[in-house]
């Protein structure tokens, strides 16, 4: 693809607020006429990225190009983009007509031309005859239509939308989604759409950009993102999924939940730890029979409208979520079957915690701003820079913060079928990853201790 086909190029962009890194080395290319959605949980930096493209903020590092021209330091009023804000941001002292005409009047267009364009824009958003209305008298949905009309009337190369439907009720949101998609087709310009709603992203987009903690996790079509999530964060964030630890025994052979399965993935090496994703609608459920790969007991069954959502616990303690048109009663024995191409294998981002550390003396090592006791390491001098490894399951979490050698807050929780994988942000500002069977909540403050025997020091 030629570079000139990109309407927006974001190259190596980072943004810091003080010492906090909000965006970290973002590279994003938007094609002409593409509908790109930036998707992520709140606080992942998606709105900041949009504001950098609009020009309300400037990046700490990197460059932004719009229509082949570098605009990194260009103020917003000189950029070929227009924005639709989450809270509409209509001008309360102007009526509908003057709100929409605001940009055109600044460009000093002829009065008749302005009138024609405003009428056209109002027609586009289905608000004909609303010209003289006060914006305060409009409903949320109508205000957002006016906001969209006010942006598109300027014929921007790119329309930026910052969670435009977040303040609307569900029914209205669904209707507006369809209208936005229709509008995108008619206008033929690029849309960059920010949302935290994965369903909205799947419905609307040509391309989805999944973000977390200031980094892009995955870029792809909705089908790619849903079917081939690149890591456990994306798998967990998009749709429902069963996430499990597994081992790649050899090519096309994987073991998880205590059972070996055929799969279609290869190239991971032999006996490599991997993450497994299975969508709940991809698991077949039936009366126990020889065809069953796993057997288990139904622990709950909930009617969800089109399908039932059941939780199945296998004999060796793994939990699976299964969606099916048929239901089985609670406590009923069932068999499960998973087809090879429905097993998604992902490389593990890490298999244990690794920290830079410093030897204090032969039985003490300092990392995460704390001194820990460790097994005797006679060959390493005091003061030497080393690395330490701590496996996920040897990190011990405590309710009482004072009992921990160090404190932190639970930031992210993944359920892995038989245990939870937690990401803990320590007060030293570094993450530590923990496997535990105890139930913790997002945002819990905890104390952390590590058993001396489980700290592995590597010179």
């Amino acid at each position: 693809m030629q570079k000139s086909d990109y309407i927006i190029s974001v190259k190596g962009v980072s943004k810091n607020f003080g010492s906090k890194v909000v965006l970290d080395d973002i590279n994003l290319y938007v094609k002409k006429g593409e509908f790109v959605t930036i998707l992520g949980p709140s606080g992942c930096g998606k709105t900041t990225l949009l504001r950098l493209i609009a020009g309300f903020q400037t990046p700490s590092e990197g460059t932004i190009e719009i229509a082949g021209e570098e605009v990194t330091q260009t103020p917003p009023h000189k950029r070929l983009v227009n924005t639709v804000f989450q809270k509409y941001a209509l001008f309360p002292h102007l009526n509908v007509y003057n709100n929409i005409a605001f940009g055109l009047k600044l460009k000093k267009l002829a009065k008749e031309l302005i009138e024609k364009k405003v009428t056209q824009a109002l027609k586009m958003v289905g608000m004909t005859d609303y010209e003289d209305r006060d914006v305060d008298t409009l409903s949320g949905g109508q205000q957002q239509r006016v906001a969209i009309a006010r942006a598109i009337v300027n014929e921007p190369e790119v329309l930026l939308l910052d969670e435009p439907l977040a303040a609307l009720d569900l029914k209205m949101r669904k209707d507006m989604q369809m209208e936005l998609k229709e509008m995108h087709k008619t206008l033929g310009i690029s849309f960059v759409y920010v949302t935290h709603d994965q369903e909205e992203a799947l419905t609307l987009s040509d391309t989805i950009v999944v973000m977390s903690e200031g980094r892009i996790q995955q870029i792809g079509t909705p089908i790619d993102i849903y079917n081939e999530p690149i890591n456990s964060f994306v798998a967990d964030f998009i749709g429902e999924s069963n996430l499990l630890n597994g081992t790649m025994i050899q090519d096309k052979k994987v073991s998880f939940a205590g059972t070996a399965f055929d799969c279609v993935d290869k190239g991971f090496g032999e006996n490599t730890p991997v993450d497994i994703v299975i969508r709940p609608e991809d698991i077949y459920i039936f009366e126990p029979s020889d065809a069953a790969m796993l057997t288990g007991t139904v622990t709950s069954s909930i009617f969800k409208g089109v399908h039932y959502e059941m939780m199945i616990e296998t004999a060796n303690g793994y939990e699976f979520m299964v969606q099916d048109y048929h239901t089985f009663p609670v406590d009923h024995q069932v068999g499960l079957l998973i087809k090879p191409f429905d097993i998604h294998v992902m490389k593990k981002e890490r298999v244990c915690n690794t920290f830079d550390a410093k030897m204090i003396d032969s039985t003490h090592v300092e990392f995460l701003g704390t001194t820990f006791e460790c097994n005797e390491t006679p060959n390493i001098e005091a003061g030497a820079e080393v690395q330490v490894e701590v496996s996920f399951k040897h990190v011990i979490l405590q309710d009482n913060e004072e009992e921990g050698a160090l404190t932190g807050v639970v930031k992210f929780i993944l359920y892995k079928g038989d245990h939870y994988h937690l990401t803990i942000l320590t007060d030293w500002d570094e993450d530590i990853f923990v496997d535990t069977t105890d139930v913790w909540d997002d945002g819990d403050r905890i104390g952390i201790t590590i058993d001396p025997g489980s700290i592995r020091v590597i010179p």
Binding site: H77, V81, A89, L90, F91, L106
Partner: protein, 265 residues
């Protein structure tokens, strides 16, 4: 029943105490007697003599000066105060609180202290006292009040509308007067009226900054007049008129505040 009469009575007594001096001035503005307190029959002669210029030239001058100074001081402090409020509003929370605190001090500071400090400042800077120093002094004590009446309007404003204006092609200056000013207009107007009345009313600061070149405002004129022995009789109708004007202004401000409240809810 008894209780009701007592509480009503208390209220009327209080109102009478508050308004008696003003009522006396208004009542005695309709008689010709030179000495306040003598009733020599109803007459509107003082009004006609006040309005037809039958009074001393210096009183007319003082009135003119007072209103001109008030108008200039109120206009300048409205502009300065509004821009300052926008700046303060966009500060980080900690700096904002600090600046707000600093903004409040001049309002709590006794006028007499403000007057003396300004007097010393102008002397040490070698600025000759007169019109300019009075106006500067009035701007100094009016501006914080404007800041205080504009800030709440900014807080009510949707924080995205400034950015929306930029996004639609407005330069920062255009966004300021096309979008921000219309939004805070009512706060600016309240600030202006407040500054205007404060300036007309002021004596303590004015007396220290007016110099001795013969410039008089209404307050310094009345002060001098009273010291010379007895008030000029025309001051009575003048006080009555000023009271009525201020009353009307107050009613207008209240009415506006009520309307603003109504449209909000």
């Amino acid at each position: 029943m008894m209780q009701k009469i007592l509480s009503r009575g208390y209220l009327w007594l209080l109102l009478m105490l508050l308004y008696a001096p003003i009522l006396i001035i208004i009542v005695f503005s309709f008689t010709e007697a030179k000495v306040l307190g003598n009733w020599t029959g109803f007459s509107t002669k003082l009004y006609t003599s006040l309005l037809s210029g039958g009074v001393k030239n210096s009183l007319v001058n003082a009135i003119g000066n007072t209103f001109l100074i008030a108008f200039i001081a109120a206009s300048v402090s409205t502009l300065l105060g509004s821009i300052a409020a926008i700046g303060i509003f966009n500060l980080k929370i900690r700096t904002r609180n600090a600046i707000n605190f600093v903004n409040n001090i001049p309002m709590l500071n006794p006028d007499i202290i403000t007057g003396i400090s300004l007097f010393l400042l102008f002397i040490s800077l070698g600025i000759s006292q007169g019109y300019v120093t009075v106006i500067l002094a009035h701007i100094t004590f009016c501006t914080p009040y404007v800041v205080l009446s504009v800030l709440p309007r900014l807080r009510q404003m949707n924080s995205n509308i400034y950015e929306a204006a930029l996004d639609l092609g407005a330069t920062p200056i255009q966004a300021l007067y096309k979008v921000i000013f219309p939004e805070i207009k009512s706060g600016m107007l309240s600030g202006f009226i407040l500054a205007f009345t404060l300036s007309i009313d002021d004596f303590a600061v004015t007396i220290f900054t007016i110099g001795n070149e013969g410039l008089e405002t209404l307050s310094t004129f009345i002060y001098a007049d009273a010291r010379k022995g007895g008030l000029t009789p025309e001051l009575r109708p003048l006080s009555a008129i000023i009271f009525i004007v201020v009353l009307i202004l107050l009613l207008v401000i209240n009415k506006r505040a009520q309307n603003a409240h109504k449209t909000k809810s």
